[in-house]
Symmetry: C2
Subunit: 253 residues, 2 copies
Amino acid sequence: MPNEAGAGLPRRLMASGHGGRARAATGSRDPGEMGADEPLQHEPPEDVPPGGGPLERQIRFVIEADRLKTIARQSRITDGTRRENSAEHSWHLALMALTLGGHAPAGTDLGRVMAMVVVHDLVEIDAGDLFVYADSAAHARQEVAERAAADRIFALLPEPQAVAARALWDEFEERRTPEARFARALDRLQPMLLNMHTDGGTWVAHDVPIDQVLSKVELIEEGSAALGGYAREMIAQAVERGFLRAVVDPRAG
Amino acid sequence: MPNEAGAGLPRRLMASGHGGRARAATGSRDPGEMGADEPLQHEPPEDVPPGGGPLERQIRFVIEADRLKTIARQSRITDGTRRENSAEHSWHLALMALTLGGHAPAGTDLGRVMAMVVVHDLVEIDAGDLFVYADSAAHARQEVAERAAADRIFALLPEPQAVAARALWDEFEERRTPEARFARALDRLQPMLLNMHTDGGTWVAHDVPIDQVLSKVELIEEGSAALGGYAREMIAQAVERGFLRAVVDPRAG
C-alpha cells in the first residue's frame, strides 16, 4: 500500500497552516458585520448554530462550496453547448495537475498544487468570476471582493483548518512559491485549450488583443518552461487559424 | 516552502504505477477495434497523430476529459435548478477529501485519495452515469462498459502514465486499500448531502427504499467510522423529514 506520500495531507494542507500567512480582516469588510477587530478565524459565521462540532462545520463548508457550480465563466466547454462553471473548471485543473505535473520544476509539491486548484475559485461564490481580460479597475474591485469572500468562506471551517485553507488561497494569489506558480500556469493554460477547441472561444468573442494573450503565456512560462513553450506554439497556431490577429509579433512559430 | 509532501506526486500516482495492477484488455472490447492482443497501453489511440510526443498526448487526454462536464448525474445541485454533472461532482469529492481527510483512518494517503476521486468518473465519458440505486443487471452491464471505457481513455496517456492512471481507477473500483475505501465513502456521502439540501432529492424522486440507502451507509462506515456515523444520523433525520420511509428500522436516531 503506497502510504508514504501525502499521509495526513489535510493536517498539513488544511489544518496546520502554511507559515501563518493567513491575513486578518481587510478594510473591505463592514466592521460591524462580523467583528473585524479580531482575526476572522476566531469567529463562527452567523449561520452556523452555536455548538456545531468540527465535523458539522466541515459539512457546512462542503455544502456552501456547492454554490461554485452556479458560477459561470466566460469559456465554453469543448462541445460548445454552454459556458463552463467554476467548479468543473477547478476539477479540470486538478486533473491537469495530475497529468502535467511532470512538467513542473523538480521538487514541486503536486499534492499542494492540487489542493490549491481545488480551493482557488471558492471566493467566486461571493465575488463572481471576472473575465481574465477585464480592465485593471475591474481587477482591483475584484481583488477587494475576493478578499472579503475569502474572509467569510474559509471561516466556515473549524480552526485551525480555516487558517490553513485561507493560507492555501493566499499562496495561490501571491504566486511566490513554485506550487503557486505552477497552479496559476494551469489556470491560464486551461482556458486557452478550451478556446483552441471552440473556434477561438473568448479570444474571438471578445476580440482579445494578442499582446494580452502573450502576457498570460509569460505567466505560464513562469510556472513551467515546457507548458509555456507549448502555449506559445498554440498561440502561433491560433493566429494561423484566425482566432487571434497578429498585431504584435507572437515570437513563436 | 512545504515541499516534502507529495513531491513528484505524478511520478508515483500517474507515472510509476501502483503495484502493476493495471488490467489488460477485457473481453468486452471489440478485438478488431484497437488490437486487443496487446496490452492497450502499448497502442496509441487512433486519433492521436503518429509522432505526438508525451506532452501532446497528455494534452489530448486533458481535452478528452472535458467531456465529463456533459455527463449528467441524478442528483441536483443544492440550489435545485439543475442536475449535477460528473466533472463538478468529482471536484466536490476532491474538496471533501481535503476538508474531511482528518476523518480517514490514520496513515491514509490523502494525496492518493484526491487523485483517485479526480479520475474515478472519467469512464462515464463513454459509459454514462448509472444511478446508484439501479438494478443489479444494469450494474453488471455498466461494469463491462466502464472497463472498456477505462481501456480506451487511460490509453490516451503516454506510458507509463497510462498504466498508473488505470491502476488508480482499478484501485478505486476494487476498494481494497484504505485510500479507495475512503474515496468511495466520499462518493457515497456527497449525493446524500445533496439530497438533504434538495428536499430529499433522488430519494423522493425515485422512492428509494431505506434499506438500499442504509447499505450505502455501510460503505461509508467502511471508509470512515466518523463519516459513517454522521451519515446514519442524517438518514434518521431524512426519515423524520419525510424524505425516506422507515419501512426498515434505520438503527439510528
